[in-house]
Symmetry: C2
Subunit: 130 residues, 2 copies
Amino acid sequence: MIKNTIEEWHNLVKQKDAAGLDKILADNVVFHSPVVHTPQTGKPITKLYLTAALHVLNNDNFKYLREVVSGQNAVLEFQTVIDGITINGVDMIAWGEDGRINDFKVMIRPLKAINLVHKMMGDMLEKIKK
Amino acid sequence: MIKNTIEEWHNLVKQKDAAGLDKILADNVVFHSPVVHTPQTGKPITKLYLTAALHVLNNDNFKYLREVVSGQNAVLEFQTVIDGITINGVDMIAWGEDGRINDFKVMIRPLKAINLVHKMMGDMLEKIKK
């Protein structure tokens, strides 16, 4: 049981705690990438993508901006800078009665930023899988 | 004075009421496109972009999905299908004490959808400007 999902999420991001994903993700969590339409279902694949994202996006420039939270839904707007390109995006997070995240969707703007993140995420997923 | 900004926004979208933008947008509204980093400032340019978006995105397939609203911020998730490509996005809307929208940001996923919307918005802006 997780009392405050978004508080836990922020702790996890601050500590770059990829192992903590095990606790906060529901077994049947679905991940929706900013690049590809097809949803990714299940904890292992979602963990893989979020671990890669923690490595790629979560640098010293990373910060959350707006947070809109209502019921069991949150939208956390973030910003970071990589290679001089500003990356602006949202984590759209939904959770169940037990507080565990069952849906995680990411959108990114502008176009230049998506193309960069697409490339970097691909490289990082290759590295992690090895 | 607008009592319920999001209710007014939904009416405007349903009726494809581009003229209604005059009432709902603040004079100093800032528009952030899904494609370009630089914000567009002011009512005339924001009206232009939102009018084009009402034409391009708001077809018979258009529907809003999740809505997360808190204080003077709302995130409205939408979906539509154009040329067989599913377009998933968010309208991130903020408003002032008078209920008028002072910040409007759009993000779109997946990559294929952004590229399509980018092209269609370019064509539509050309048409509207003429």
